[in-house]
């Protein structure tokens, strides 16, 4: 009897495990929907883990995204077009020599716990960063050149810098409450929850690798958000996040790939947002890396010093195919260095300079430059060595993984042999900074002011002998380019500066130390049965998540609660004029069922085959 009871117990256990949960959440979607209506929760799926919610420490995309909603800043980028506007600070002025900045804080600011927020709080935050190296972990670069910070009265904050600093209106530093943080012994430790903050939400709870919960902050100076709770839920892979969106387990998700974005098209409850990114994607071609003082470093193939070779490589890379095949059409074809989202500075090569993709043309260029083909079709460099180049890719990046084989294929056609080298993000960063690469995938998020990305290609941005100290991009060091760079720095006439910036892009295009691949779109989706919509940044064609600000989460509008607000620069909000949701056709998909059936049938066949084959095994067994 005993074993029968055991067997029964096991069966019960298994059935319980499988069926009870099925039975319970059979009604779960409704249960979720209901709870949503009672307390309005915005559940956001994120695919990157939070590194830390300590405002001094966090540097990941997700971490900063959450902190942006929990802590306000002196100034923020506006919703319309990324121009800096006041947030905690109402106004500011600078001295003649641009070394002293005086910020005036708003009246009546309050922390989420009701304590008043005064100039002492930013002063304490910044001074902590000046004094304590650990507090500089995340945002230390902003205060590197600061002299002193002082709160002269309750509303006035005075910052003195050692040299004029262009980023003073874009200080991406969360302001923390002095009355809480001055009692913290270890400034780098994980914070205590709930956190006292000043943003539209306050951070309540953090479950590592699971979720972060935030609650609406009634003391936020712009007013309480319409959503009562904001949950960031971590999904390690984006498919799971998409499934969760389809099941109504989450309301908003971003960083979709083309397949996922397409598959959501037919879902009537889901709205999609195809946004212009600030990002450009490129392949670097090492032109002979050197330190900022001109000493060669790294192990780049010396053949790449030849501009003719680099130009031929650039001619053999087809942006159109990459846009179609890699980004599934959700991208824009390569033009200049500055992404088209910043229309004013963006440049596209005129007809006579344009490099039309042509393998024949590239081959002809190489023939003319004297690169003979070797016995196995691989060209030989000037020293007679075959042209074997490495292409470094980010192992976790879909773009690199899909685009890498294309580049390899094209270059093989022009007699250049490519070895793909997938490395972790950090390894790619290190190796490229040390100049230890031939070709490498790269890309940057450009800012409304192009200065930073332009500076990446100057001689001065090259690193020291250990490959540290600066962040180089392509190791270009070009007199003409540097000359233009310095001119645009000092040019106060906007039109003339735009001209200079375009000239710089022309130089970059000609030198071919980098090949622009294209500008991919940010693909986002949300439940339109639960949410009316979200404020985008920039307002036209912009993103909901990963904004340079809190607009998207702050202005989240639950279904039936009126139009999505537009946030004006003066601190007011107005109703939006455009509907962000899009219509979608209804079409159901049975692929899951098909998969299950096909899988099942095949399993049965496999087993059946085995059984059939094992039919005579009995004899062997019986001899035992």
């Amino acid at each position: 009897m005993r074993s029968r009871r055991v067997a029964l117990g096991i069966t019960l256990l298994v059935t319980a495990l499988v069926t009870v949960p099925v039975a319970v959440p059979a009604g779960a979607p409704e249960a979720h929907a209901v709870s949503e209506q009672q307390t309005k929760i915005l559940r956001v799926g994120v695919t990157q883990e939070v590194d830390s919610l300590n405002p001094f420490i966090s540097i990941t995309r997700t971490g900063t995204d959450i902190l942006r909603t929990g802590f306000d800043y002196l100034t923020v980028y506006n919703q319309e077009d990324y121009s800096p506007i006041g947030s905690l600070a109402e106004s500011w002025e600078t001295s003649q020599d641009k070394l002293t900045w005086t910020f005036k804080l708003r009246d009546g600011l309050k922390w989420s716990d009701g304590e008043p927020l005064t100039a002492e709080d930013p002063a304490w935050t910044f001074n902590k960063m000046l004094d304590d190296e650990v507090a500089r972990t995340a945002n230390g670069s902003y205060v590197k050149q600061w002299e002193s910070v002082e709160a002269t009265d309750e509303h006035t904050l005075v910052i003195k810098t050692k040299v004029p600093q262009a980023t003073m209106l874009a200080l991406d530093i969360p302001i923390v409450p002095e009355h809480v943080w001055s009692k913290v012994a270890d400034i780098g430790a994980a914070p205590q929850f709930p956190m006292v903050g000043s943003g539209p939400y306050t951070i309540q709870e953090f479950k590592e690798a699971q979720f972060t919960k935030l609650k609406a902050n009634p003391n936020f100076w712009r007013g309480k958000p319409k959503v009562e709770e904001l949950h960031f839920i971590y999904y390690r892979n984006s498919d799971a996040a998409v499934t969760a969106l389809q099941n109504g387990e989450i309301d908003l998700v971003n960083r979709l790939n083309p397949t996922q974005f397409d598959s959501l098209e037919s879902n009537p409850d889901i709205a999609r947002n195809k946004a212009q990114n600030r990002r450009f994607n490129e392949i670097l071609i090492n032109p002979g890396a050197a330190t900022f003082d001109g000493k060669p470093i790294g192990d780049g193939n010396p053949a790449l010093k030849d501009i003719k070779l680099r130009q031929a490589i650039a001619t053999a890379i087809d942006s159109k195919t990459l846009v179609d095949k890699v980004w599934g059409g959700y991208a824009e074809e390569a033009q200049g260095y500055i992404p088209p989202v910043f229309g004013e500075f963006a440049w596209s090569p005129p007809e006579d300079l344009k490099r039309e993709f042509s393998l024949d043309e590239a081959n002809a260029m190489l023939d003319e430059a004297g690169y003979r083909k070797g016995p196995n079709g691989v060209r030989l460099d000037k020293q007679g060595k075959p042209l074997n180049l490495r292409l470094m890719t980010h192992a976790e990046a879909n773009l690199d993984e899909v685009a890498g084989p294309f580049v390899k294929g094209w270059l093989a056609e022009i007699g250049i042999n490519i070895t793909l080298q997938p490395l972790s993000d950090n390894q790619v960063n290190e190796s490229t900074t040390r100049g230890e690469f031939d070709l490498a995938f790269s890309g940057w998020n450009a800012n409304p002011d192009p200065d930073y990305v332009l500076s990446l290609q100057t001689c001065a941005s090259r690193p020291n002998a250990e490959g540290k100290g600066n962040t180089p991009d392509s190791f270009l060091c070009d007199e003409e380019y540097d000359e233009l760079y310095n001119q645009q720095l000092q040019e106060f006439d906007r039109g003339k500066r735009v001209d200079l910036v375009k000239q710089m892009q022309e130089v970059l295009h000609d030198r071919a130390t980098l090949v622009i691949l294209g500008y991919d779109n940010a693909l986002e989706a949300y439940r339109k049965d639960a949410f009316e919509g979200f404020p985008l940044q920039p307002r036209e064609g912009g993103v909901i998540m990963n904004q340079q600000g809190y607009w998207g989460y702050y202005g989240a509008t639950p279904a039936g609660e009126g139009p999505v607000p537009v946030f004006n620069d003066d601190g007011t909000a107005s109703a939006s004029d455009a509907e962000t949701s899009e219509a979608a056709d209804e079409e159901s998909s049975n692929t899951g069922v098909v998969l299950a059936i096909v899988g099942g049938v095949i399993l049965v066949l496999l087993v059946g085959g085995l059984l059939f084959a094992r039919g005579r095994r009995r004899t062997a067994d019986e001899r035992e």
């Binding site: 998409v242 095949k325 192992a395 993984e401 899909v402 093989a412 997938p422 899951g592 094992r614 001899r623």
Partner: protein
């Protein structure tokens, strides 16, 4: 040893034993089916360059659309850049089988050497070697293999090393047990008494007696190695060369490009089923061989 006749005699004896073994093997349908499947798959893999065009693996020459369902032109549909899944599966067999075979040979070689040494030499060598073996046996081998693949440059060689270096302990134990049994037999005693050195005893007596068992173990281990390869490739540690796809790297592409969401079953199923069939085929062969060669099963 100089006269040819004893050697010829020995060969004749081996030939007869082989024939008897084969007869016994052939009497097991599972073994025959497994062997048939294996021969077929290996043939397909070897002949891939002759029955298909490798150029089809080049993404820049792909003619299909993104994840097209099966059609006349693409019997198993296309992958994320429009290559034929059938072609990829065919060529994937080459890498998967290669890794499976070589990694297993490496692991069996290490295992055999350590196993024989541990059994043949005295207490201390044995104790030391077996401690190391036990240590590796319990280590989470996948974690170790992941670490190894990260340390070394990515490629087929690294995968082989990572699998080979982490999967030998069970072979070592098996070989040791078998060697102990054999060394207890009187003819080893005799050989030692006649002045046979370690090399002689191991090379002439122990190794031939252990080899059949090793062979069985090899057959069974190839399947595991293929699964291990697919897992490492799936985790993104495989060979990045697009012209050398493996079943594991196909599944990784399918996974990364959301074949599950898109319901692209033609992209998900073939590599997985191929792995299943090959592993099963090896298992069937291994079990049949075991029944022939394992004395315990035979004498029962």
């Amino acid at each position: 040893m100089t006269a040819p006749s004893p050697r010829a005699l020995a060969w004749r004896r081996r030939g007869a034993a082989f024939a008897a073994g084969w007869k016994q093997y052939a009497s097991q349908r599972a073994g025959l089916v497994g062997l048939g499947l294996l021969v077929l798959i290996v043939l397909l893999a070897v002949l891939a360059p002759y029955i298909s065009d490798q150029q089809g693996l080049d993404v820049t020459k792909a003619t299909g659309g993104r994840m097209e369902p099966p059609s006349g032109e693409f019997p198993l549909g296309t992958d994320r850049v429009g290559r034929s899944v059938l072609l990829l599966t065919l060529w994937g067999a080459r890498v998967s089988l290669l890794v499976g075979f070589v990694a297993t040979l490496l692991s069996i070689a290490i295992g055999t050497i350590i196993g024989i040494l541990a059994a043949h030499y005295g207490r201390w060598v044995s104790a030391g070697l077996m401690r190391v073996t036990d240590f590796f046996l319990v280590l989470p081998s996948l974690v170790l293999a992941i670490a190894l693949s990260t340390v070394l440059e990515r490629g087929v060689g690294t995968i082989i090393l990572a699998i080979g270096l982490t999967s030998w302990p069970s072979a070592a134990r098996l070989v040791r047990a078998q060697t102990l049994t054999i060394e207890a037999r009187p003819y080893i005693e005799r050989s030692k008494a006649l002045g046979g050195g370690h090399l002689h005893v191991i090379g002439k007596h122990v190794l031939p007696a252990v080899l059949p068992l090793v062979f069985v173990n090899t057959t069974l281990a190839v399947g595991s190695a293929i699964v291990a390869e697919s897992t490492l490739s799936f985790l993104g540690l495989g060979d990045p060369d697009p012209m050398r796809p493996s079943w594991g790297s196909m599944l990784r592409s399918a996974w990364l490009d959301s074949a599950v969401i898109a319901g692209a079953w033609w992209y998900l199923l073939p590599p997985g089923i191929a792995i299943g069939i090959v592993v099963l085929a090896f298992t069937m062969c291994g079990r049949a061989l075991e029944a022939v060669l394992n004395p315990r099963l035979r004498e029962g």
